[in-house]
């Protein structure tokens, strides 16, 4: 009984996601779906990124959270247009939520839209929202066994940002094992190691993102 319904929900989502994608392409808007588990540092990285690049490109942000406008308020302090989606319990964003959110942005004037998904290593990856690509974060305290246990997010992402590398001396996480596990699942996965605390690696991420915006 359950599976056909879930399939129907996914099919309906895919249809709307395709419409979103067409809309974004017509507007020459680069769209990044930012995914990770809770606390990997999506909002902190986004804040740094906006601070560094907002004078160069016109950013828009969609913040996905189960409830609260905590992250949206942090992001709005950068003077960038942001829309909060509160999923009201749901563990991921769906294409129709994103469409509703972007309708509140003047997105024809934007260069890039960053959608910060709900913190969850599992469900958000199952729902296409019409993005160009998924960028995933994994923080080193989460451990190097995550590719083995949460394969889909590694398979579906274009870029893996290994975050909080300043903590490497204090945690049991082998970057080489993590890289190997991730690349085994997805040989095309690009990988950047960074720390928002020390700033290490941020220039590589900014360059990657700029390239995405210019290529759109």
């Amino acid at each position: 009984m359950e599976i056909p319904v879930v399939e129907k929900v996914l099919q309906a989502n895919d249809r709307i996601a395709e419409e979103n994608r067409r809309l974004f392409q017509e507007s020459k808007l680069a769209v990044i779906n930012l995914v990770s588990g809770p606390g990997a540092g999506k909002t902190t990285l986004l804040g740094k990124t906006l601070h560094a690049l907002k004078d160069q490109y016109a950013f828009g942000v969609v913040e996905g959270d189960i409830q609260s406008t905590h992250d949206a308020e942090k992001i709005a302090s950068n003077g960038v247009p942001v829309v909060q989606i509160n999923t009201g319990g749901a563990c991921h964003l769906e294409a129709n939520m994103v469409r509703e959110a972007v309708s509140q942005l003047d997105f024809a004037r934007l260069d890039i839209l960053i959608v910060e998904n709900v913190g969850n290593l599992v469900c958000p990856v199952e729902f296409d929202i019409g993005e160009d690509c998924k960028v995933m974060l994994l923080s080193v305290p989460e451990g190097d066994d995550k590719p083995l246990k949460y394969p889909l997010i590694f398979e579906e992402s274009s870029l893996l940002l290994i975050t909080k590398i300043d903590l490497l001396p204090y945690v049991d996480c082998r970057i080489d094992k993590l890289r190997e596990g991730a690349l085994k699942l997805n040989p095309h996965l690009e990988i950047i190691e960074l720390s928002c605390k020390t700033g290490e690696g941020l220039d590589l991420w900014y360059a990657w993102l700029s390239n995405r915006i210019l290529k759109r």
Copy 2:
């Protein structure tokens, strides 16, 4: 269309969970549902706990993962009976999965069953599996804003284990803010701070767990 079906699934789950609960009570089996985001340290804590207490009490373990037997293998090395549930993509355990798993354990001879749920701060808490109580982990690198963003898991848990406190000098996480946020959501929540690396606080956790086992 979607909501009634989801409700039906939840109702069916609740019915099986109640049957599990009755079965566990008849067997005087204490059952802990261990929940957290990915990488908060459930498996490491469980390994430490089994090592410390397995000669005192008869433990059984159910390991929930999307795929792989990685964690179950780690746990089995302690000589404790363990059953792996692979959810095949699903982001949480359900009552029927747990019933199927425990049927493979000689659970009438056990004192305590620990069910390690899928690493996810959102979905597992929505599904009763027939446990006595939920014990949640939150590691300090995940940050002190989590009660605000993932309220349900704090509301539904009996005990919050704040893990990886050895990392406090290196991360931006204020324990007092975290405690305050958690207790605001759930004034009955017990809280223990610990580190599996230094061993700090583990004795408090062992005492809490022993008390649960003896009270059953």
